[in-house]
Symmetry: D2
């Protein structure tokens, strides 16, 4: 709100704000000042995810009909952080909500979210959950499911798959190396990259390069403040659905 009219170019990590109305106020300030503003949805800049999106846009699988997102962290952040995080839907799934909008090119008509505290009672004590199951119906009747957990013993798990009339595209995890071991126990490959700093190393670099392009006037932000507000609106709807145990229409 202060930077936009300064005028300053803005790079803003998610969420724009924990409160949806404040986020909308930010968006208005950005639009009023016509300020360059990039939201840090780094997944859109990941080589695997971006290649998948480009292949959808090329028509490889026809119209996307269903999306299944797997989004699991290797471990939960400290409970003190969780208390201030806005809850798992705004802190963690907001990235998945952005992926949903980007990949399907569609908006949510209804959201159903449920959650459990399965890994650490202190998270429940903080009023949050650590495992969620979300279903989104889009305006065009397409379906998306997101499954999330704060603790995957095997590392950061970031996969999704998109089904269309002509086939399916999957985005898989990245591995540190391509060593495979054949032993008397099993045939074993590396675990996925441990967490987001490793997994999205290339994405962060691409994101920064794009921001420099925006600063130089060579590009408009591919992850705009409107994307930030839209993902936050989904996170808020999911939070409501989980808390009130009902389907939320949008």
């Amino acid at each position: 709100v202060r930077a936009a009219p300064a005028p300053k170019a803005i790079f803003c990590e998610k969420p724009v704000d924990l409160a949806l109305d404040r986020a909308r106020t930010c968006a208005e300030a950005v639009h009023a000042a016509n300020a360059p503003c990039l939201i840090g949805f780094q997944r859109r800049y990941d080589p695997t995810f971006a290649a998948l999106k480009a292949r959808i846009d090329d028509g490889e699988i026809g119209t996307p009909e269903m999306l299944v997102v797997t989004s699991r962290d290797p471990g939960a952040p400290p409970v003190d952080y969780i208390k201030r995080s806005g809850g798992i839907f705004k802190d963690m799934l907001i990235h998945d909500f952005d992926v949903f909008r980007w990949i399907l090119g569609d908006e949510a008509a209804s959201v159903y979210a449920t959650g459990s505290c399965l890994t650490d009672p202190a998270i429940e004590g903080a009023g949050d959950v650590d495992a969620t199951a979300v279903t989104i119906r889009t305006r065009r009747g397409r379906l998306a499911q997101i499954n999330t957990i704060r603790r995957a013993a095997y590392g950061y798990d970031q996969r999704f798959e998109v089904i269309g009339a002509k086939g399916m595209l999957q985005a898989g995890n990245h591995r540190p190396t391509e060593v495979v071991s054949w032993s008397s126990e099993a045939v074993a490959a590396d675990k996925p990259e441990h967490f987001f700093l490793e997994r999205y190393r290339a994405a962060y670099a691409n994101e920064m390069a794009h921001f420099f392009d925006v600063l130089a006037g060579r590009a408009t932000p591919r992850t705009s403040i409107d994307d930030g507000v839209a993902a936050l609106a989904l996170a808020e709807a999911a939070t409501t659905s989980w808390r009130e145990k009902r389907i939320v229409e949008l």
Copy 2:
């Protein structure tokens, strides 16, 4: 109802009946006559699925916490069949509901189901859907998601994954051969086995062998009529959830 008191040994494909109360009457007749009765949930006899279940029971991943089931057919049956099928939840997902109960060893507390007609308007004309997204919360707070579609261009897609505190186990598709082609286009493996007759060939053989063991008094049915009724109850709850657009408590 007629076979049990005859007395005859009974092998019954799913669903036990399209009506839950009639299925319960069947179960009562079977129990009253103490008749050997096996329900054809062949997936429990599949080598991959059975190995995964045994590894869970051995504690490999700790307590199972989340389940994600992918269940996609290569194509829809004729609309005439769909009209008499009881709907996609009783016809197709009933297998997934049985897998859910078997793998998690838990019962549903609530079911949310939604669906769309994405592949053929004639299915909508028959009052059914061809794509569904189902979420189940169990009594112990665990979460399961099932995604289903009647048309997977690449064949029969039957996967699931189970997450526990110590890791994840996945059941993958089976391929006709292990040929891999490296071309100027891609590195390509076989599509999955085309449909259930190919995919569950070994499962059907194991199922029959188990039925013979039951007939010979060497075993009690691993897929009992109570399993048949329980899966049907879930299918009915899912149908209600979809039709009435609400969460169904069980």
Copy 3:
């Protein structure tokens, strides 16, 4: 030699004989009597290998130019067996020599073989080796390499790959199940099928079905006694190359 003029239909496991001249005498007897005679090179009947061969014949990779064969046993047979086996080239690699001829559709111009005793000194005591590296140049200048060892800790390893101008085709191992485990250690799939009885279960069934077709006059043997003699000739050349430390021209 006795069965052919009887006349009897003949099913003969490899090698036709340990001595090349005696094997040739057998072939003459079979040809003189025009007796149906099938040599048990079961790998040609394996679904994976047969599919790969069919795709080569369809021109998928162009003319095959190079072949790399990996052929490893899970463990050595008893030394008493090894003493009477004719040596590793006639006992074990004879299958690989047949695969070489079948896949490349070409004949050897020269053979170089070397070997070592790496797993058990008793095998050296029996005058044999347990690890070999073989190179074959064909009459048309194509190249084939075979690597073999008697002890693969991870089970039976039966892979090959064929390179042509348009790409490569690989035949991979078969696994007992398609379960994959994601743990804090690794992402692990099943080891290969343990040994030939498991790995070539389908191949043996197809082979027998083909033999019945031969008996019924519906087919001529796809693995003829001439194939048996040709593979034995390669095994003998390889044995000579290894013993005399020289390249053997054919």
Copy 4:
């Protein structure tokens, strides 16, 4: 020879020289001046290859017994380059000879090499081959096979596998993305990285970082001029084996 006594730190791409005696003269000059000298065998700095080597050194598979190296280029360089390259063994396989020495930690006792011109007659016209098959026996009796071709339609193919008493370790190709496509044709992953600049991007960076460590006196060269000479000696032996059609003892 001029840089070492200058004194200058030296970074030298392979081969040190096309003539083995001149390369040895260089090594003497480097040793006499005690000059820091790094040979550009970048594969030793590759994350996948280095991880595999570290796991061998940790004893994961026991003593390495056999090595199979696959080394294929996406296309041949111009014939003018080939004429001045010293031939395929000094130009292309010299990297594989270095990998052999590094991975097995052993030296060659004998080399057998054969080759063919399969992709372009102009290469034969230049006195070279474009496909080779090499076998090395080490002083301790271990076996290595290298297969090489100048034209892999699917891109740069850089794999190897090492077998020991306790299992096998494989180094696989790297892919640009982890997108997998499931279509009515196949289940298809990306081709390997196209050529060495892409495949060894991380290796080159690590190599340079190591060279800076050498310059700063924090490390001694991991790929020394002696490694450069030893790999060249193997390339020369292989060239002789191929030209004279004989096994070369070292």
